[in-house]
Amino acid sequence: MTQSIKGMRLEVRFAEDDPQSNFKEALDRWRGNTTKQASLVARMYAQLQQLADIGQLRSPDKWRTESKLPNKKHYYAVKMGKIRAYGWHSTKHPGVFYISHFAFKRSEELHKDDHHRVMRNWNNIEKG
């Protein structure tokens, strides 16, 4: 079953089947530090809920425009320190913001693996 966060403006829907395991992988750097991990889970939840309720995140610390999708529109990153949640506004499902996946970033630049993963998930959802 597709998991989602429903808000007043958007539904934030997870594109992959097991977003929980994916998020857990992104937090792996803090393995053993349950206090830090709990804080990060709460912060990401608050950010995704805010995105769903308000429709956007304004702070450049929380939101970044990333590369382009095949339909020439951009996809985005919800930022939380070195954690990213990549996603796009769906054209197939209006009012839905899809989270492609979570990733831990070692550098500011977009990693090609993350780009390819977004493209794959975008194709599955929007063209599937």
């Binding site: 966060i5 991990q37 709460a42 608050a46 950010q47 805010q50 308000i54």
Partner: protein, 135 residues
């Protein structure tokens, strides 16, 4: 349960408290960004108006530095905004027939919250499937 974040939050009072903290920080910092955007003020200019460094303002607005009520008031003043009014939404609160105030299911009184917290100490990271604890 519609998503794993919600499930995690509902596992304990401690998790709910963390989400409440982060939500409030985000609400405030996002609202300040909205006002700055509307006024065409960037972080450097806000810092200058406040007589602080840009790094200080960036830390406040990113949530990495705790924002005090005093610094919130300073930001409001620097932006030429009215000082924000704090209200706690108490939906559906009404006087009961015995004259005492009663609360519906979606109203939390601080006294009730503290009483519950003392009565049921929440484990720091209780999970029913251990997905976080196992990390």
């Amino acid at each position: 349960m519609s998503n794993f974040f919600e499930k995690w939050a509902n596992e304990s009072k401690e998790h709910q408290k963390l989400v409440a903290e982060e939500s409030l920080i985000l609400d405030v910092t996002e609202e300040i960004h909205a006002q700055m955007e509307a006024l065409g003020v960037n972080r450097a200019e806000l810092a200058e108006r406040m007589g602080k460094s840009k790094a200080y303002v960036s830390q406040l607005l990113s949530g990495s530095r705790n924002m005090t009520l005093r610094s919130l008031a300073d930001i409001s003043f620097a932006l030429g905004l009215d000082i924000p009014k704090v209200t706690f939404p108490l939906a559906d609160t009404h006087p009961a027939t015995n004259g005492e105030w009663e609360a519906s299911g979606n109203v939390i009184r601080m006294s009730d919250y503290c009483a519950r917290a003392e009565a049921v100490p929440a484990p720091e990271c209780a999970t029913d499937d251990g997905w976080l604890r196992a990390m």
